[in-house]
Amino acid sequence: MTRARRLGTALLGGGTGTVFLLLVLIFAGILAMNPGFFEGPSLMAFLKQAAPLVILAAGQYFVIVSGNFDLSVGALVGAQVVIAARLIDGEESRTVPVMLVMLAFGIGVGLVNGLITTVLKVQSFITTLGMLLVLYGAIRLWTGGAPTGSLSEAFRTPGRLGITGVPVVGQIPWALLIMLALGAGAILLMRTRFGRILMASGDNELAAKLSGARVDAARTAAFVLSGISATVAGILIGGFAGVSAQVGEGLEFTVITAVVLGGVALGGGRGTALAAMAGALAIEALFTLFNQMALPATLRPAVQGVIIIAAVAYAARRRTRPALQSTASPS
């Protein structure tokens, strides 16, 4: 009974519910436009290209719920793809080592973001904005302005291929499986003591500190997680479409929008990982819907803006409204 209620509040309570509603509406719209969309293959294709944003959303969720921002993910994704192309340079054999290097790099960037924010007390908005600039410049400095080298087939597998010959759906993309695995991981992580401390730190730093929580450590860890998610996203995006100079540009705003759309409060202490990822899915679905409707390309940003504001406003109203709760007596 308690479980059921908890699930209820998780899905419908606070702002969280809105995103699932939104998701349903958008999918309904797509269905109306193009019933074929939900046939296995095209749905799989959709999930494949949505996976990176969902994974980024999970990473960003940790940072936001602990009361911070990570504006550097877009630049990091771009950097990772470029690093991969340059270091692999077409050599299949280098794939795995380079992936490890990328992981280390992602962790490193997260660590730096975290330490600057927690130890030097620089507001994360600025820390990560600075990191964005540094990454953007440094990576181009390194490659002389435009990506060089090329990716190996093996590197491209996770983002591009999948388990083929599956009945109905045709191909189950690796990206989807990775997304599901990491998503589940994120949800579980929030149930651990780390997750609870992260949440408390975002809600009331002082109270958490006085309860003995290592707030700074937790927050730094959140940045590291975000760095890792950006790395994975980089591997998937690079795998999906290969190298191009513009990879990752502007992703940071899309992903933060997604997380907030999921009812996660900027400033921390509220919202669930599941909803955050649902938010990412909703955004991707929205883009698909636009495409299905053949909405004039120049108008799309405007419509997107209206929908985002409306959804978040609706969620805000929901939050201040009664969320059904039992009147259980104490104990």
Partner: protein, 378 residues
């Protein structure tokens, strides 16, 4: 890439046109299409010095003794591979001229695609009073006009290239034929190689950039007069992921027989979308970016690489030396602009065999001493 010359250069009346959001100017369209068939003056082995129907202007007023002239260059940005390639070429050309003692110091500033920034950059050069010649690669057509005018007024020779400005005060304005020609080359190829009634998807970088709109405007003309059905025109920001995503969605809904692009960035991703969807390759118009040309060769698909001559980056510095020597230069220096076809594709791939993927085939720096290292190991 997002760079084509301002075809409305030297016509202040283009502003109203922009107002109405109407990009098509018949006269310019006809002129450019005609220019494609005109034999340019000069040595075909140095296309960057060729000129189509030049009107030579006298520059003795700028003649200057001693080869220590300071040449200043206000660059819009190096924010895309096409500009990066060109920028390297220009620097290599400068080295040659400096060693030859033709010019002295070469100063540059980069505005990072910010018009206001570039205006400040130009002002700074003018105020410093140390530039003997000023080269400008404007980041947007109309907005830099006042700044360039002030530069002209300061009495130094001003050389504008790539995109133009709405004034003809510059000593010379260097650019390849232009966007209408580019868009037409691509569109005509598709029309010729596709059955009537075939479907074409147009992939564009971003809206509102006058220089890109001309390519699309020309294409619309040609598609309009043909039996081709244009499925849609989508903005991709040149992001491979976005391109692949969009193309996949179109393929999921039906067949796409041809792809028209206003710039080659991410062309490979578009082709991969067809592979992943298990559909036959489209007839394709990309650009002379190597990644695309290599894919083209590898797949043997029917394609063309329209060219927006990257070698134009050599011309401005050369023009500067000519002007400082008081030699004549064309008032509007129209460089040749020929697409790469299946016929000469392999030759260009051969030449650029060890160049990186995002390098441009017609960069025209093969004879510079820095070649190939400067372009290969960036």
């Amino acid at each position: 890439t997002t760079d084509t010359p301002a075809d409305d250069a030297a016509t202040d009346e283009s502003a109203p046109a922009a107002d109405s959001g109407e990009w098509f100017v018949q006269a310019e369209y006809d002129e450019q299409l005609a220019q494609r068939d005109i034999e340019p003056e000069g040595d075909p082995n140095t296309p960057w010095l060729q000129a189509i129907e030049p009107e030579w202007v006298d520059t003795t007023e700028f003649k200057r003794e001693g080869g220590d002239a300071t040449v200043c260059f206000s660059n819009a940005s190096v924010s895309n591979p096409w500009r990066v390639t060109g920028w390297i070429t220009m620097q290599e050309q400068v080295k040659v001229l400096q060693e030859a003692g033709a010019i002295g110091e070469f100063r540059t500033s980069d505005a990072g695609d910010d018009d206001d920034q570039q205006i400040s950059d130009i002002q700074a050069f003018v105020d410093s009073g140390e530039c003997d010649a000023l080269i400008v690669s404007p980041s947007t057509t109309a907005t830099l006009t006042p700044a360039v005018e002030t530069a002209c007024a300061s009495g130094i020779p001003v050389i504008v290239f790539d995109r133009g400005v709405n004034t003809d005060c510059a000593t010379t304005f260097i650019h390849p034929i232009g966007g209408y020609a580019y868009g037409a080359d691509a569109a005509e190829f598709l029309v010729e190689n596709l059955e009537p009634g075939s479907t074409v998807l147009a992939l564009r970088i971003l809206p509102g950039v006058d220089v890109l709109e001309h390519r699309w405007a020309a294409a619309q003309q040609i598609f309009g007069d043909s039996e081709i059905e244009v499925l849609g025109n989508e903005f991709t920001g040149g992001d491979a992921a976005e391109i692949k995503n969009i193309v996949s969605q179109y393929l999921q809904r039906g067949d796409v027989d041809g792809i028209w692009m206003d710039a080659g960035d991410g062309a490979v991703a578009a082709i991969e979308a067809f592979e992943d969807a298990g559909k036959p390759y489209p007839v394709m118009a990309g650009e002379d970016e190597l990644s695309f040309m290599r894919k083209w060769e590898e797949t043997g698909m029917t394609a063309i690489a329209p060219v927006y001559s990257n070698f134009q980056w050599r011309t401005p510095v050369l023009a500067a030396t000519m002007i400082l020597n008081g030699e004549q230069v064309p008032a509007e220096w129209v460089l040749p602009q020929e697409p790469i076809t299946a016929a000469d594709r392999d030759e260009y791939l051969e030449r650029n065999a060890d160049m990186p993927a995002l390098h441009y085939a017609k960069f025209g720096g093969e004879d510079l001493p820095g070649f190939p290292d400067a372009w290969r190991d960036r």
